[in-house]
């Protein structure tokens, strides 16, 4: 019995005492760059399968892994992203592209969707390959942060759709890329485009906000071009909870998003206060035992979200919504399919209406009949064409 108690005690101590190392450099520091590969213009044309880019591609593309310091959960850690550089271009037109949801499990092939692991493969990496090679071969310097939770930081949980935390690895990556660009001979005028799809669309729009509000002058945001993102997070969550008895086959996403919101915000409530099944981590949050919200979440919690009486949680949800409360200086372009079955169309509608009223220079493109996935090839070209007009 003594041994059992000893082992139990030691296990607890081990778990409790696990300390994480923190880097001694400041967030945003470029730690190293790794040349991955150069892909010729003709290879780019072959590798891009979402569109015919033979008339767009002008440059060979260098892939450079950017390793940099960022802040995560109050600590400085090392993370990475991929930089796509058009070879031989003497002026930098900088785009930060934020990728969509990647389930943080090998089972779901996360290593085939993480930007810094792209080495020119023709399978997997669909979003990374198509955006990176299309836009870079057209002359744009494209940076894609991995986000914390992937590749070098796979041992950490991803701050899924919680924009204030998600933004940090984007911002610090951009700082690192800027220092890399400035060390090169090409001319760069500090202007930047932001773009992204799905979670990345929300990340892109929120980065637009945080760059302008919190770090004015660090970059000049020309425009953000945002595809099918959850911008109205409040309505996004409430749309599920107001129909709590209705099965929702996308419930995994909502569950994970709420888990992340709670974990990375100041709330940090024990999971059993709002889940009615065992949630140990982000994966178990992503894997609920039912598609019916009332079976997954504590009903009292649902009620308090819907009627607003859980003031603290509602305040965090409100903060994570991008449809009002700021006055964008750069232009905003929204793109959304009106048959989106993943991130409802109302997100872009509400964002457009809300920010237009605040005087934003905002534009909204609806793709009739398009779903969350069929919008992508259209956006790939439309966003590039829009940047061509603004660069």
């Amino acid at each position: 019995m003594k041994h059992i108690l000893k082992v139990t005690f030691l296990l607890l101590i081990f778990t409790a005492c696990k300390k994480e190392a923190t880097l001694s450099v400041s967030p945003g520091t470029l730690i190293e760059t790794n040349e991955v590969k150069t892909i010729s213009r003709s290879e780019c044309v072959q590798l891009v399968d979402s569109a015919d880019i033979s008339s767009i591609a002008q440059y060979d593309v260098r892939l450079i892994e950017i390793v940099y310091a960022t802040e995560y959960d109050g600590k400085t850690i090392e993370t990475s992203g991929m930089l796509f550089v058009p070879v031989g271009k003497d002026t930098v037109h900088f785009v930060t592209y934020n990728h969509g949801t990647v389930v943080p499990l090998k089972l779901f092939k996360m290593d085939e969707a993480t930007p810094s692991l792209f080495t020119g493969q023709s399978v997997g990496f669909g979003e990374i390959r198509n955006v990176g090679l299309t836009w870079a071969s057209a002359g744009y310097t494209v940076f894609m942060p991995d986000y914390v939770g992937y590749n070098r930081t796979r041992d950490k949980e991803h701050p899924y759709i919680y924009y204030p935390e998600l933004f940090k690895s984007i911002y610090h990556g951009d700082l690192a890329v800027k220092s890399y660009i400035q060390s090169q001979s090409a001319y760069y005028d500090n202007r930047m485009f932001l773009a992204g799809w799905s979670q990345g669309g929300g990340a892109s729009l929120s980065a637009h906000r945080y760059f302008e509000q919190n770090y004015p002058g660090t970059f000049t945001i020309v425009a953000s071009l945002n595809l099918s993102g959850p911008y109205n997070f409040k309505r996004f969550i409430r749309s599920v909870f107001e129909n709590k008895e209705t099965a929702n086959d996308k419930i995994s996403i909502y569950s994970w998003a709420l888990y992340s919101l709670n974990k990375f915000s100041e709330l940090k409530r024990a999971n059993d206060r709002f889940y009615s099944y065992s949630v140990y981590d982000q994966v178990s949050a992503f894997n609920p035992p039912s598609t019916v919200p009332a079976d997954i979440f504590n009903n009292f919690f649902i009620k308090q979200i819907v009627d607003g009486s859980d003031v603290a949680m509602n305040s965090v949800i409100e903060r994570n919504s991008m449809i009002n409360g700021w006055n964008p200086q750069g232009k905003i372009y929204l793109y959304h399919g009106d048959a989106d079955d993943f991130v409802p169309y109302f997100n872009s509608e509400d964002c457009y209406e809300g920010l237009l009223q605040l005087g934003a220079d905002i534009h909204f493109t609806t793709y009739p009949g398009a779903t969350h996935y069929t919008v992508f090839p259209k956006y790939l070209i439309d966003a590039k064409n829009q940047m061509d007009l603004l660069k």
Binding site: L107, R269, R273, Y275, S276, P289, A312
Partner: protein
């Protein structure tokens, strides 16, 4: 009946569970009374008991958002035989971040003994869950009436267990009323569950037993355990189980010994998931008083 006083013993250890509402029984194939109100060790022809006691502790090592790793979970069960009836007494404790539940179960099992190796049993149990509401008031976003300290949720379990030679089957319903406490909207609710269990005990000579088992709980989705148990010399039992929905490996080992004519058992269990980050350990202590 005197020996029923023994029920007051063996309350040791405090440990952990992040789980909600449902005890995750890591020793299910060695005694499913928590899940099946119709199961008792008396069904095993080798055990002629008059009282049995079984205590389990589960320890879940997984951090939650508050950085805490553990909440206590303790189960205790006792059986007392009287002719064809077995009276069952259960106590389960689960602690949450916002409340705790002390669940008391009082049940009766009636057995039709067709022969020593052929039996059919029916069980009925009343479940009484006492939730501590006081702790809710420490949470800023939930305020209950101050005078309410404990809420009782009463419920019913039913179970049937069948044994013929090496084959065992069980089917049971737990928390059939799905009782709930609704101060405004549902704050607490028992989870209704249906459980089925099948196993076959292959004896290889006198000293080796091999028992494949399957445990299925279709709650919300089909939650299935597959298990294989190896028994040696009727002393040491090792089991491997795989829980499909969480891709979880589970390992148990148990030693059974004797103190005079009575039997005791000590078991250890450990499980971990391929995809989740938690690790769970369990301790089981049991004692059987023979005639």
């Amino acid at each position: 009946m005197k020996k029923l006083l023994y029920i007051t013993v063996i309350l040791l250890q405090v440990s952990a569970a992040v789980s909600q509402r449902n005890i995750d029984d890591m020793f299910f194939s060695q005694g499913t009374n928590y899940y099946n109100a119709g199961y008792s060790p008396t069904h095993k022809d080798s055990v002629e008991m008059i009282n049995a006691y079984d205590t389990r502790t589960m320890l879940k090592i997984a951090t939650n958002n508050t950085g805490n790793t553990v909440t206590p979970s303790l189960t205790y069960q006792a059986f007392s035989k009287l002719d064809r009836f077995v009276f069952t007494y259960n106590f389960n404790h689960q602690s949450y971040s916002y409340t705790s539940n002390n669940e008391v179960g009082l049940g009766v099992i009636y057995t039709l003994p067709f022969s020593n190796v052929h039996k059919l049993s029916f069980g009925l149990r009343g479940d009484f869950s006492f939730y501590n509401l006081k702790k809710f008031n420490g949470i800023d976003y939930i305020q209950l009436e101050k005078e309410k300290r404990v809420k009782l949720l009463a419920d019913i379990d039913l179970g049937v267990h069948y044994l013929i030679k090496g084959f065992e089957a069980g089917i049971s319903g737990k928390h059939l009323l799905a009782s709930k406490y609704r101060p405004d909207d549902i704050l607490l609710q028992n989870q209704r569950g249906l459980y089925t269990y099948f196993s076959y005990n292959f004896s290889i000579g006198n000293h080796i037993e091999l028992k494949p088992a399957v445990f299925i709980t279709p709650i919300n989705y089909l939650n299935t355990f597959l298990a294989l148990e190896l028994g040696v010399m009727k002393k040491v039992y090792a089991q491997y189980a795989f829980r499909f929905n969480e891709l979880r490996h589970q390992y148990n080992i148990e030693y059974r010994g004797n103190i005079r004519q009575n039997q005791f058992f000590v078991g250890l269990a450990f499980n971990h998931s391929i995809i989740y980050s938690d690790f769970n350990a369990g301790i089981r202590l049991g004692y059987i008083v023979r005639d």
